[in-house]
Symmetry: C2
DNA sequence: CTTGTTATTGCAATTACTTGCAATAAGGAT
DNA sequence: ATCCTTATTGCAAGTAATTGCAATAACAAG
């Protein structure tokens, strides 16, 4: 059973459908080195599926994020970028040079526990971005 | 010396100017209970300053945020909302009912120190949003 | 394989946000 | 008080993101 079949099955069980659009977008995210903006996804996906439209790009990225197949991150000024969902992590970004470092979620475990105790909320882990200056830019 | 004069002075020292547009937008943020989207700011500011345009709203909010007079937060799906800058805090938001709780930054001090040690970055504190389910929605 | 149901897409129109540039006005200097 | 410099705004046009709805196509069932 291929990777694609697994994904298809996972969606179907929940009452959703696998489509060529979703597959292409997943493939684009999978092949990407880091984050992609929705329009970057559109441009890269256009090669495999020329008819793909913008509303579908946005809706699909939101769909994939909602169902745990993609991660959305707030990088810089208010726009969302996406990446394929792998291990759970966060980002530290340098405001000066844009350099990015990943922080494993394990580092935030304690904090999450504290916040849960303090607020009574049950946190479902977000994808956080911390900003600062990297060693080279200080 | 009024509060307004202080703000004016603070900007002037850095080579910027106080304008009626900036004052009105600051006033709107100050009077607001919580977060406001750029368009909510526009609507509320329109009463005091009818000529105010959208580009100015967006540019001013960005300007105020950059200079520490306003805070931008990512609430929900990728759109920025703003609030007047007061004490340094973060938010926990319930995905189900939208309820918000503030977390003082003091709670994150340890984590920030850990991340700084781990990455070598010097973090300038961001305005973070954690998502989860509140006690009523679990 | 064919059919039926309905999740998903594309289209068209709308709203949200951004950008370049000329006109305006804040605030320092005379 | 008037002038000068230039930060800031408004305008107009452009790009990005969203929405409603009819057409399409997954996929379950016969």
């Amino acid at each position: 059973m291929s990777c694609t079949d697994h994904l298809t099955e996972a969606l179907r069980i929940r009452g959703y459908r696998m489509t060529s659009q979703r597959l292409v977008i997943l493939q684009v995210l999978h092949d990407a080195a880091g984050h992609l903006s929705p329009l970057e996804v559109r441009d890269r996906a256009a090669a495999s599926l020329p008819g793909l439209t913008e509303p579908t790009i946005y809706r699909t990225l939101e769909f994939l994020t909602k169902h745990g197949l993609a991660l959305a991150a707030h990088v810089g000024s208010g726009k969302l970028v996406y990446e394929i969902a792998r291990h759970h992590h966060h980002h530290v970004i340098c405001r000066a040079c844009g350099r990015e470092v990943e922080i494993d979620h394990a580092v935030l475990k304690t904090l999450y526990a504290e916040i849960e105790t303090f607020t009574g909320f049950h946190l479902n882990t977000s994808h956080l971005t911390f900003f600062g200056l990297c060693p080279d830019c200080v």
